[in-house]
Amino acid sequence: MSSERDKPFVTDDTQVQTATRDARMTGSGADNRFNSKLREAFGSSPFILTKFDQFMNWVRGSSMFMLQFGIACCSIEMMHTYSVKHDLDRFAAGVPRASPRQADVIIVPGTIVSKFAPRMKRVYDQMPEPKFVVGMGSCTISGGPFQEGYNVIKGAEEVIPVDIHVPGCPPRPEALIYGVAKLQQRIAEGESSPVTVKPYELEQFDDLERDEVVDKLAEQIDEEDLVMRYNWADSP
């Protein structure tokens, strides 16, 4: 990762190695994070597996547990999407779970700032595979109205992979429902997002390349602490 510091948007994926990404990039075609255990059990009987895969994907798409995850203004509209009138539950996606370990989908509803990004990454890592991300609102696309802020991450995709972007500031509940429905469709078809680059990863402090900032903080931060390093100059 560190050698990419001066290239913010690497699309050549041979160069970037990160844990989440590796999990997603192994295999080709339909994402084989799905059903790997079953594949082992059934071995090579393609007919049953295909049908079973399809069935499982349909099940997955039709019963999504959402993580109850509120960040900023968009989360108010997200709450409205869950409750009366819009009622996301009608679309088999309305069970908010308070713990990431029980959730399949995380809706990221709001602005992500430097202090929060490592925590969000941690929450995402705690979710079991297969997991999906809906980015809600302009803030998760680019930083939205706060893009020029000194403390604002320019989009959720800098930190975690995003499957569906729902634009708007905030998107109306209808738009969010449409986004979730699109996600369900993709899951049912066995697709998940191609992972583009995430410039900000959690790393151990002593793995960082030494430079002026690192030297300065060496006294304050323990070598084994996880840190996230923001190269603002490279941000879009």
């Binding site: 509120g70 990431p100 602005t111 929060f116 490592p118 925590r119 996230m228």
Partner: protein, 556 residues
Amino acid sequence: MSLEEPEPEDGAVEVLPTAGDEIAELLGDLVVDREEHVNAPGFVIRPDAVQETLTRLRDEAGFDHLSCVTAEEREDRYESIYHLTSFDDRQREVSVVVPAPKDDPVSESAEPVFRTADWHEREAYDLIGVEYDDHPDLRRILLPDTWQGHPLSENYDQDRPQIVTLSEWENPLAEDHREEEGDTMYVNIGPHHPATHGVLHVKTVLDGEQVADVDPDIGYLHRCEEQMCQTKTYRHQIMPYPDRWDYASSGLLNEWAYARAAEDLNDIDVPEYAQIIRTMGAEFCRIASHMLAVGTFALDVYGDFTAIFMYAMRDREKVQKVLEDLTGQRMMFNYFRLGGVVWDLPEPREEFFETIRDFLDDLPEALEEYHDLITSNEILQARTIDTGVLPPEVAKSYGATGPVARGSGIDYDLRRDDPYGYYDELEWDVITEDGCDNFSRLLVRLREVEESAKIIEQCVDLLEDWPEEERTIQSNVPRTLRPEDDTEIYRAVEAAKGELGIYIRADGTEKPGRFKIRSPCFSNLQTLPEMSAGEYIPDMVASLGSLDIVLGEVDR
């Protein structure tokens, strides 16, 4: 600045110094220089005389409310401005200006006089870099501890890389109990936790079931709102941002805070018709906001997506429908303009009024339901009465305002005490409750909804009969606004959560030189340790819910 005499209390005629000269006399040689701010006289004092000055102003002149502390960097000095006013008479205001030299920006802390200065000064240190002597705990508050530089100071390089850690927190009381058999347990609540209403992190130390120490850790949603406003022009560009401070549907109330400050700064009049529309819209926002507060509070106390939450959301949907008809948006209205509002009521007007009247007609019944479900429910009463007690003196010292202060019996509401808009022409009451506990704060919100409905009803009556040819929605405002260099103003309005103040210093350009937001939630949240020390942990969560904070406004 009003020159009215304050009302005599307890029969004794007490005349408090209010005019600039009287205060100058009181402060004597503490004053080094004088300034004139648009809202109040300003007194420049030495950096080592802060406590003495503020104590004298508080004890002898009745300035018992430290509303805001603004710090800024000027060409030749740093400056901290203490905006003081009084809970009994909001129109008495005074600014205490404390310059500090460029090479050694240190001034005395006001924390021993006003507890609220604690967080305000930490923020000033964090963002501007002014240091405060005698401060109990001067560390960063909004930005991570490992941040380099002070982003609102003059030579900050926004492109320098930053490193943020994800490390385990330590139990601050671990040392205290080492040899004893009792031990304390450290619990992180947040920053991602359903009970914290957003991304708040509450560092809690438990002794058994009881809270031994709590420290709210904020800044997980610090979106640089002040920087955003300082880089935008007065006329149109700033207005969308206030919607995003307190985003729990108080959009119009926040917009009003900016509109009021900028209009007073630029001497802009607002037509009466527009004021009525503003007042009506703002009260709708207050209802929506209080509904959310009540719904999520019930969620905190009962712990599930229960009927109450759904009821609250149902009523909010109705309010949002009206607001959408009025402004075109469900949440981020961007409806106010300097000098008025952007457009008139939607056509056909009769239909619009009809929707409002329907809502108002249904409201008493809905509120009845809330009272049946919540306030007269024994379980809720057992959980909330006499928990999270906040005595009025403590609330005052922390600068608590809004329903939190009114739930502690402090009769303070800017709509009446420092009137703006159309409020002083209408019939309504300020609600107070004397219980000082979680229950009172809940009750205040529910009863304020009734008052808001009263206000809306009167506004609708007025608007219905307003002659067609007099419907001016905006006054004439120049395309670019360039307030004179060095004019300073601090103005506040009563937002849903309390006193929302804006300080603007003009620097002769079309963008503010310094834009500071005084957020009611920021001050209210500060009272949490006071309310929950020694209480059981579920009561702490209930107290947090009763404060009704919105992190967008706490962190800005």
